[in-house]
Amino acid sequence: MPRISPFTLLKFACVLAVAVFVAVLPQIFDSRLDPGSAEFRVGQFTLVGIWFVALLGLNVLTGFNGQISLGHGAFVGLGAYVTALLSLGRPGLELYMLDPPSWLPIGDGMRPVFTIPIAALVTGIIGFLFGFPALRLGGVSLALATLAVAVSFPILMKRFDEVTGGGGGVNLNLPTTPFGWDISTRHWLYYEAWITAGIVLVLAWLLVRGRVGRAFRAIRDGEIAAVSSGVNSALYKTLAFGVSSAFAGAAGALLAIEVAYVNPDTFPVGLSILLLASAVIGGLGSLAGAAFGALLYVFLPIYSQNPPIVSWDFSNQAPAVVFGAVLIAIMLLLPGGVAGGFRRLTGLVRLGLARRRADRSELA
């Protein structure tokens, strides 16, 4: 049996502790806050879970495989539209005077939670296909091509309004707790998001820890060297695109269910840019980094406009300025992001322990 280092055990203990914390968080809010603000907080942390899923996807692509994507928001949007269409179904869409072409396999409406894997699959396949032209575009051209996708997405959604409802968007059926479970809808949405996040996290971890992850990182750190060592670069790069898009699609599905509304302007180019910024600040190449990024994505805009403690009220443009400034500062000072900072800290502790052990063995 391989020896498990105490740090690996500690890491798993931390993950377990966080999971328990996430599971009981709604109860903590309910017991300590009045019902209105408890509901509001649970809603905020539902969003954290949703963006965690999206950022895990972006991290697989950009952090582990080194392909910059400025178009992740478009794939989130695609997932959201898939869920909107499938959960409403043709009868529901008719109420909006929408008439999708008959070849689109839209059923008669289905339970929203079942649309999540379908949205992930559809978005994943489209992302995988997009990966093929992307293969020929290294680095900067790829950033540009994905930016083009992000810019085109809302335009295309507005143009094909017989399917998407155009600029007005479509309302989904209001969410309800399924299967006759006895919890509030707000709590159900929270657990739906975080259970999905848990599944996606495990999938991402299984993916990046083994052979595939090694190939991803080898391509990121030196593509020519990786190819010379027999890594099939085309396969793994398109695979990274597919997986990252599938996660984005799942996040989009969750978002559509949570806000019960999709429209093209929910997914502007700015969303894609901010997602990349959050992934970088949280920490590229680290699954924990995606969690920090998601917290940041939800809370930084709120606290930079109305900072806590002091009672200033900044312009609603302040979040962008803070986001940009933090992004630049992180790149200049702490390239590993928040997660990288933690890793550096534990690294120092480990080094200290190893030194002490070495000293002791010398004495003995």
Binding site: A143, F323, L332
Partner: protein
Amino acid sequence: MAAFLQQVVSGLAQGAIFASLALALVLIYRATDILNFAQGEMATFSTYVAWSLMNHGLSFWPAFALTLLIAFVGGAAVERVLIRPVEHRPEIVIVIVTIGLLIALNGLTGWIWGPEVKAFDSPFPLRTVEVGGVTISLQDVGVLAVCLVTVALLWAFFRFTTLGLVMRAVANSQEASRLLGVRVGMMLALGWGLAAVLGAVAGMMAAPALTLDPNLMLIVLIYAFAAAVLGGIDSPVGAVVGGLALGVMINLLGTYVDFIGGELRLPAALTVLLIVLLVRPQGLFGHRVVRRV
């Protein structure tokens, strides 16, 4: 036929704006191998500075000149302060720094001047003239002329002055230039300054037609990227030709292909770009890059 030519002329005027910004991108790319994602936001910021100057009583051309000066200093400062520290880090780090600058500048513009749309006066008469049955707006002619004169001046600077020669040498090989006693850092800052000037010209020419708002140059930036890649990302001639061609192309596609119409111009242009990249990854005028391990 007259309608066709009219579309071509207004396409050229639009294309000249893309070409200016594309040239700014190429200028920086040749010198430092990075695409500056903040180029458009720097241009928007400069255009707002021009708007403020005009609001304080300056007429168009003095404000124009003063803005170019401010843009030059600003561009050089960005290179010194933000880009220099990450110069030798992986490409992805530098790209992300420019994206950070994009986000921050976009927010800052909205913070200082507010998100509402502002009218930006045109220096050119709003009349049209008729040449052989073709109606041409003087606004289009003016924009085209200013952009082309700027490009020509820049070309002359690189071709005929010693400083231009030195800057080309730096773009060619930083190490060799440094060994010959060139202050490479200074030249890079100068390059960023010149690129910012080009962007400011593009912004001030685009603002009257598009009206001024904080996202003025975002779409223009995408077209400029497309133009630069179309022409070959390391080719200044390619950037100009690519910009003009793209301007004409989107106008003609928008007018004559019903499916595309007014709305799908951008996706159509990007599709063409993608096809060009797949067939000829180095662009129309670019050089094939040979990589060594």
